[in-house]
């Protein structure tokens, strides 16, 4: 990348890294039993110690929850960047491909079948998400090419279809309605280390696109121009779509559907570091993590001891922000 982007990229990464660090510390410190920054420092180096209440709160409750939130936020933001730039459509978010609705359907089936073991619900959500991606993919394939426009339409259609099935299931399984609704609105409540382990799987998929920033930049000029400049467009597109799909499915499977992070974060970050992916991807990753950690912090502290679903918080924060961005008339 050129000098201009480089001078924007590294300060951006540093700034947002600092922001994420602050958010993480706040999220670990605040809650029904507040911990001081010094205490957090101690606990971090002490490691999990049985018998200590602070230690248990820190290592068994807050740390996994905060890490899950950070990873899910990062995954959704990266997925949002990929999909917006692949579709060359600023209103695209990780959910338009239908992956999240498919994942929601999978999770709902798990809940209705009383597979109370959380990891089974997660597996079903991943299967539902990736299965939807496969269906949408096949619908959009024509002579070895993926028509992104058809993919978008197919994704939206499948999303409606999956939501309809979820609704039917909710009516059928009256007693599970609350669980399903909570899941659909998204929450990090009660997430533990098994969830972190699933969320950690997103890391390679977040790193992978970082090796294709140049191709992604060039593809901003449209698929034909990218071909002319030497990009293997179909291969790149396939890789990016699968990456975004896996990221979304994994994120949705551990947290439920959390809106606006994948839509708004890439837009804000473009204002900060520009549309070049060398800066946009890593900064979006960090910013998405920060936003989700803060949103989760708000969701469990604002009306404590009750929790607001985190998807509601991100929507409350994201919707006005997004309208503001649209009013500013940004094209990127």
């Amino acid at each position: 990348m050129s000098k201009l982007a480089r001078t924007g990229t590294w300060p951006g990464i540093l700034l947002v890294s600092g922001m994420l660090a602050v958010c993480l510390v706040l999220a670990l410190a605040l809650g029904p039993a507040p911990l001081s920054v010094g205490r957090i420092w101690q606990l971090l180096f002490a490691g999990p110690v049985p018998g200590d209440l602070d230690n248990a709160i820190f290592w068994q409750i807050r740390m996994p929850r905060v890490l899950t939130a950070a990873l899910v936020g990062a995954a959704l933001a990266v997925s949002g960047v990929i999909l917006q730039d692949l579709f060359l459509n600023p209103l695209t978010d990780p959910y338009v491909t239908g992956v999240s609705s498919g994942a929601a359907l999978g999770a709902t089936i798990g809940i209705v079948l009383h597979l109370s073991n959380l990891s089974w619900i997660t597996v079903l959500a991943i299967v539902g998400g990736l299965g939807t991606l496969a269906i949408v993919w096949m619908a959009a394939r024509r002579r070895g090419r993926i028509d992104v426009f058809v993919l978008l339409l197919a994704g939206v259609t499948i999303a409606y279809l999956a939501s309809a099935v979820v609704t039917v299931l909710m009516i059928k399984a009256n007693q599970d309605m609350t669980a399903i609704i909570y899941w659909l609105m998204g929450s990090f409540s009660g997430r533990g280390w098994p969830d972190v382990r699933i969320a950690l799987v997103t890391i390679p998929f977040m790193v992978l696109p970082l090796f294709f920033t140049r191709e992604m930049d060039i593809m901003l000029q449209g698929e034909k121009r990218a071909l002319e400049l030497g990009v293997e467009v179909e291969r790149t597109k396939r890789m990016l779509l699968v990456t975004a799909g896996v990221l979304t499915a994994l994120a949705v499977s551990v947290s439920g559907i959390i809106g606006f992070v994948g839509l708004v974060v890439p837009h804000i970050v473009r204002l900060l570091v520009g549309p070049g992916h060398r800066g946009l991807l890593p900064v979006s990753l960090l910013a998405g993590a920060s936003m989700m950690v803060v949103a989760d912090l708000l969701s469990r502290t604002v009306i404590a001891p009750n929790e607001i679903p985190v998807g509601v918080v991100t929507t409350f924060v994201g919707a006005p922000l997004f309208v503001y961005l649209l009013r500013r008339g940004r094209r990127a």
Partner: protein, 461 residues
């Protein structure tokens, strides 16, 4: 070709290429269709390194598709497209981009990237080594727009964008540059700058294949032209050969006229009525009194002849540009026997003889005699009222006696000719005896009556 490829434009040979001499680009009997709709048929031609070739042809003749085929974006349905002897389908995109660069017709970018970043993208096919990639700022400087580097691409004007995209394509360092109507969004000064630049790049060894619409630019700048018509090659060769008026007329369906002026050749055009000819009109004119009418009548679909005119006379020059059949006499000479005889023949073949407000002197009085002969032979003669005033030898009187009709000026004459359908090949039958002589038309009522016939009137003089 004008520029021998003494500058090795090819940076590195591709490993899988056949090494024996192969032209840079060869198309062999290429057919192409979008879905079931055929676009190109039986296209065969080759480009050698150093060629500077323009592609012209009407909209929808398959020009852009042809360029995309050479760049391997499309694959032919039949036949072969070879770049350096290797079929385009065997190239990976990156290898293709190292051989062929394309400047697209439409290019826009909705994202706020700096021009430098956009230009730099062209070096993608050259890998990551900055030494091999070249400097985007130097490239912009080479095109004379170094100052654009730090501006935002989306803020550039149309012409600046075009140059930035050209810089992007040149970053590929490919030996062949394809351009798809690069000049269509540019004003005339930017157009000329662009083509001068391409010429310069060509002199440096770059092979250029450029689609353009302006046939005069094509005529001036390119060493060879490829004319596409309805998906087929209509002509391929030196511009002045392939842009002969007949070819242009056949390909574009317009009339084309070739002019030579100050050592340059250019084409002008006029819409052409296809199909029936509207009739044949002979003009008696001279000194520029008939030039306007010649064009008007030709454009309106009449076959026009003229005479006798002196060579180098304005009307004679206009007539030869328009490709008219004329009886011509040597410059500044009175009408001689031979020219007069030819003129009579032309008049007899005409459906109508028109006399403009030409100054009549002893030198050309014979033309009016000829017109009178035509009247006697049953061919109507319509004259501009103005000729009475410019008649210095009293020749017009005879014309009036013979039954000629007079009109108040060129406009009125043209209106009358247009309003009256001349039956192709034969004159309207007007017996000289029965024909009434048209009165000098009133200045404010110059047009013929509703029937389309010239206004009747009493005999003049």
């Amino acid at each position: 070709m004008a520029t021998p490829p003494d500058h090795p434009a090819v940076p590195e040979p591709s490993p899988e290429r056949e090494t024996r001499h192969a032209p840079l680009v060869a198309l062999k009997n290429v057919d192409f269709a979008y879905d079931e709709r055929p676009v190109l048929r039986r296209i065969s031609f080759t480009l050698e390194a150093g060629d500077f070739v323009g592609i012209v042809g009407p909209n929808g003749s398959g020009k852009s598709t042809l360029v995309d085929l050479i760049d391997g974006i499309h694959q032919p349905v039949a036949g072969e497209v070879l770049v350096k002897g290797l079929a385009t389908r065997r190239y990976k995109r990156k290898a293709m981009a190292r051989e062929v660069a394309l400047v697209p017709q439409h290019f826009d970018l909705d994202f706020d990237l700096a021009v430098r970043e956009v230009v730099e993208m062209g070096a993608y096919c050259r890998g990551k080594d900055p030494a091999a990639c070249g400097d985007p700022e130097l490239m912009l400087a080479r095109l004379g727009v170094a100052e654009l580097a730090s501006r935002r691409f989306s803020e550039l004007s149309g012409g600046e964008k075009q140059l930035a995209v050209l810089a992007q394509a040149l970053m590929q360092q490919a030996p062949l540059l394809l351009l798809d109507e690069p000049a269509s969004a540019l004003d005339v000064s930017h157009q000329l700058r662009l083509f001068d630049l391409l010429k310069e790049l060509n002199a440096g060894g770059l092979t250029v294949l450029c689609i353009l619409h302006d046939l005069n630019l094509a005529l001036h700048y390119f060493d060879k032209l490829l004319v596409l018509s309805d998906g087929e090659v209509a002509a391929f060769g030196p511009p002045d050969e392939v842009l002969a008026p007949e070819v242009v007329e056949a390909v574009y369906g317009v009339r084309a006229y070739l002019h030579r002026h100050a050592g340059r050749t250019y084409l002008t055009f006029s819409p052409r009525l296809r199909g029936e000819r509207r009739g044949r009109v002979h003009l008696v004119c001279g000194g520029g009194t008939g030039a306007g009418m010649m064009r008007e009548l030709v454009d309106a679909g009449y076959e026009v002849t003229a005479g006798v005119l002196n060579a180098l006379d304005t009307d004679e020059e206009t007539g030869s540009e328009l490709g008219l059949h004329m009886a011509v006499e040597a410059p500044f000479s009175p009408v001689g026997e031979e020219a007069h005889a030819e003129n009579l023949q032309l008049m007899r073949a005409a459906d109508l003889v028109v006399v403009t407000a030409v100054p009549v002197s002893h030198g050309n009085a014979r033309n009016l005699e000829a017109a009178r002969d035509a009247l006697a032979a049953g061919i109507p003669v319509w004259a501009d009222e103005g000729v009475r005033a410019s008649d210095f030898v009293g020749a017009v009187a005879g014309l009036a006696e013979g039954g000629a009709q007079f009109f108040a000026g060129e406009e009125a004459l043209l209106a009358a000719v247009r309003g009256r359908s001349l039956p192709g090949g034969r004159a309207p039958v007007v017996s000289p005896a029965a024909a009434r002589v048209a009165a000098p038309a009133a200045a404010d009522d110059p047009t013929p009556t509703a029937s389309g016939d010239p206004p009747p009137g009493e005999a003049a003089t």
